[in-house]
């Protein structure tokens, strides 16, 4: 099946400033694709470029199966929708008037049914007649999300959809994203919330002008970090060197605190039993042995911090 998004060596420059450079990835239909990166990494610019709002400087892409060229812009925009960083509602109009305008612009059939469904999806049925200017920031954000659902897009670009939302509203948006992806909508999600990306996304890309990493969240973790075993004993080991150094499955170890050790291992399923036996043989009172998982946050910070402080000698 043709991917929903296929991006090849895409770049955008504003004069001398490079917004993003040489970005390539593919997103399958119905996938949730997380696009992470620090402020100014080029996320919004990428969304705008793929959404035909601005033209790439070089590179090519297929968006919703259509080549990203100026002649196809209208057809692409028909099949996608974008929820931008700031909602951009007509504040003097009511929620429903805002949605009616966009339903007409998308020429959707049976606009009133679509509008009702979109409002229901973001739980705003009760506020349909309110003026947008009288809504709180989070509610405005939800109107913008409803607006992006009107044309039943094949690809939905969400630029930080949960920034500024309360926990319950955030959960609602997460549920909506999951439901949409189950119904076959491809979601392109930019976010600064790493736990959100970890929970929702099939694939995650970390961008910092160039693409720094790409893959399922679990894979990024193992790619970047060796597996570690966390060991805790009731009393500190008198001679931990003797216990750990003799084990072939343990590559390195370090002390994390009183009776607490981190072991770098290649395969935890071999290392854990061996470590347990060695500790028992050394007469230690073992409190716990467990694999410690790196979060996506660790991965992200590792990459982004490295970019911010490049090691000496790197160009």
């Amino acid at each position: 099946m043709q991917p929903a998004l296929s991006v090849h060596a895409l770049s955008k420059r504003f004069g001398d400033r490079v917004a993003f450079n040489d970005v390539s990835f593919e997103v399958g239909r119905g996938e949730v694709f997380g696009f992470l990166g620090p402020n100014g990494a080029g996320k919004t610019t990428t969304v705008r470029t793929l959404g035909t709002l601005i033209a790439p400087t070089s590179g090519s892409a297929l968006v919703a199966g259509i080549p990203l060229i100026p002649e196809n812009a209208v057809e692409i925009r028909r099949r996608i929708s974008i929820m931008p960083e700031s909602p951009g509602l007509y504040l003097r109009l009511s929620v429903i008037e805002n949605l009616e305008c966009f339903a007409d612009l998308y020429e959707v059939p049976e606009p009133h049914k679509r509008i009702a469904r979109a409002l229901h999806a973001v739980k705003l049925d009760e506020r349909a007649r309110d003026l947008c200017g009288a809504l709180s920031k989070g509610l405005r954000q939800r109107v913008a999300l409803a607006r992006a659902l009107l044309n039943e897009p094949q690809v939905l670009f969400l630029d930080e959809p949960t920034s500024g939302l309360d926990p319950a509203a955030t959960r609602d948006v997460h549920e909506l994203i999951t439901a949409l992806s189950h119904s076959g909508v491809t979601i392109f999600l930019t976010t600064h919330r790493l736990e959100e990306a970890e929970r929702l996304c099939d694939t995650v890309a970390i961008l910092n002008t160039t693409l720094r990493m790409l893959g399922p969240p679990a894979q990024l973790r193992t790619q970047l970090f060796a597996t570690t075993l966390a060991v805790r004993t009731r009393l500190p080991l008198p001679d931990p060197d003797r216990v750990f150094n003799g084990l072939p499955s343990v590559e390195a170890w370090r002390r994390d605190g009183m009776g607490s050790y981190s072991l770098t291992v290649s395969d935890p399923t071999i290392a854990a039993p061996a470590v347990t036996r060695a500790l028992v043989a050394a007469d230690a009172d073992v409190l716990s042995i467990g694999e410690s998982l790196h979060s996506l946050e660790d991965v992200y910070l590792e990459l982004v911090d490295n970019d911010a402080n490049p090691p000496l000698g790197r160009s």
Partner: protein, 238 residues
């Protein structure tokens, strides 16, 4: 060009005017003030003045209204959307530049036309009712009324397009409004000079002006649409 999308923009604009009713009143107030003094003068004119009036085209003075009225609304059209941050979601829909511009132009043109015709109607009605009959007859003559009816939409159309073009290139709402008003002044000058007899209003002059305005109005959409730079509007400095 899809009329559904043009209509969607027009309807949205008209709804915004309705929610913000002051806009249209504000647009009507200035031209109303503009006709008070001439009306007062007309009431005081003696029958003997009719003879000179008959040889002047004073009524054309009212054509300054359609030449000026669209400036405010039209100049807000694009830069206003940008200012409110609503342009990006709008341009992310399948709307084409010419559809957006046509909707915006109609939204400035329609109320301006209504105001210009409305005020002209009020002026004529008051003159007929309260001025001396000879004065009224000398002032409100067939050719003058026809010129008014024909030139009102032509002038309003042109002024609308100038305002929209300025709006699409401006960074600031206030600058756009001032520039548009300024850009309407040449038209006001021509209509006023004609009204005061400096330019002699012949049929030939009227036809040339009429055809020129018609052609300009027909070309305007294409010209403004081709100069409409979506990328600059979204990413350019505000």
């Amino acid at each position: 060009m899809k009329t559904t999308r043009v209509r969607a923009v027009l309807r949205k604009e008209l709804r915004e005017y309705r929610h913000n009713g002051n806009i249209i009143y504000a647009m009507a107030v200035v031209p109303l003030v503009f006709i008070v003094q001439p009306l007062v003068e007309i009431f005081t004119l003696k029958t003997s003045a009719a003879l000179t009036l008959r040889h002047e085209d004073s009524l054309l003075y009212l054509l300054a209204i359609p030449a000026l009225a669209p400036a405010m609304l039209a100049s807000y059209g694009i830069v206003g959307e940008r200012d409110q941050g609503t342009l990006e979601p709008l341009l992310a829909t399948p709307i084409r530049s010419d559809e957006l511009l046509a909707g915006k132009a109609l939204a400035a043109f329609v109320p301006s036309l209504a105001i210009a015709y409305g005020i002209f109607g009020v002026f004529v009605a008051i003159t007929e009712l309260f001025a001396r009959p000879a004065v009224a007859a000398a002032l409100v003559r067939g050719p003058e009324v026809i010129a008014q009816v024909v030139f009102t939409p032509l002038l309003a159309g042109w002024s609308t397009w100038v305002g929209i073009a300025i709006s699409a290139r401006s960074k600031d709402v206030r600058v756009a409004a001032q520039l548009s008003a300024l850009a309407s002044l040449p038209l006001v000058a021509v209509t006023s000079l004609t009204a005061f007899g400096v330019i002699h209003a012949t049929l030939r002059f009227a036809v040339i002006c009429g055809v020129a305005l018609l052609v300009l109005n027909r070309l305007a959409l294409r010209v403004v649409a081709s100069a409409f730079d979506r990328e600059r509007l979204i990413t350019g400095a505000k």
